[in-house]
Amino acid sequence: MTFDSNPGIARLDAIYPCRRDQFRMLYLLLGDPNFPSPPVVCLTGFPKGGKRSCARAFLKETSSTYIWIDCLETLSPALFFTKLVNELRKLEDPESPRIRLNADTTSSVGAVREALQSLNGKIVLVWFLRCTKLTIRLLRILDV
């Protein structure tokens, strides 16, 4: 199905007007579950420009498998990887018990690899980097 003939895109266009080009790009890059996507896609723009709402609405409309991580909830690498691994485990089994990772990033990456082993298809990991003054300060501290 092409972008213009997709009824879901028409619905998104009605709810979020003036963002058709952005939806087109998202559709081209992520829309086809069988076609490989680039490993990283960046959405940038001024605050309150609709990046987050458009991305979430697009992923919902296209029934994509996605994990949403807000940087304000995951201030440290340990928190981030704990959330990521638990969400990946939940995709396989919603009843799976939560695990807690330590601050060792190498073992966390191993845990991510392990969680990915049993999964299929395309998984979109959305990382929302909220650039508030606090975040910018934290990023400077973390030297990211």
């Binding site: 007007p17 003036c18 963002r19 952005q22 790009m25 998202l26 890059l29 992520l30 490989p36 996507s37 680039p38 490993p39 990283v40 896609v41 960046c42 959405l43 940038t44 723009g45 001024f46 605050p47 309150k48 420009g49 609709g50 990046k51 987050r52 709402s53 458009c54 991305a55 979430r56 996605y66 440290s76 690498p77 981030f80 060792d104 990033t105 190498t106 990456v109 991510v112 690899r113 990915l116 082993q117 999964l119 299929n120 298809g121 395309k122 998984i123 979109v124 990991l125 959305v126 990382w127 929302f128 980097l129 650039c131 990023l139 973390l142 030297d143 990211v144």
Partner: protein, 188 residues
Amino acid sequence: MAPGSLLSVLTRLPTLASTSSNVQLVMLLISDSLPLRAFDATPLPQIDFPAYTKPEIQKILGLHAPDSLYSTSNRPDVEGDLDPAELKKIWNGLTSAVIDTYGVGMALDVPTILKISRNLWPEIVQPIIDHGVIEEETGEMVYGRVDFTGLFALAKRKGLFTGEEVLKRFLNLNANHITQGSFYESRV
């Protein structure tokens, strides 16, 4: 591994998934600006969300046009309301005036302009309500032909778009944002 390389690690996470043939991990990074340092200035697919222009803001706000002259706290005693097309025309005029008054130089976003417009709506349409007459045959309230220029002139005379009122309204709005949280967050 140093915490400083977190973002670099995250952007390389998709390569982990490539070892397994069944799964593909795609990272969608949403940010106000692109942290190029972490990517070593590698070109990445980037989707830009430019700031809305005035006609675009008006188009978006048009989706939120009120469907009545009255609010829930101010219900009329008698049936009757303006046509939806007339209501939309007034709403468009109001949002345009709000953007011209508050938006220029303040770089207001869509949710803030919507909130200001909604706050102003009851005062803007009050003269229409005041001049409504009850039609004897149907018993419904009817309203005369509405001209936004006239309404705007009345509102300006009340000081809604000039002088201290503008500043007070904006400061009140900011205070509400701080105490009640972002309006945008509540919409999402």
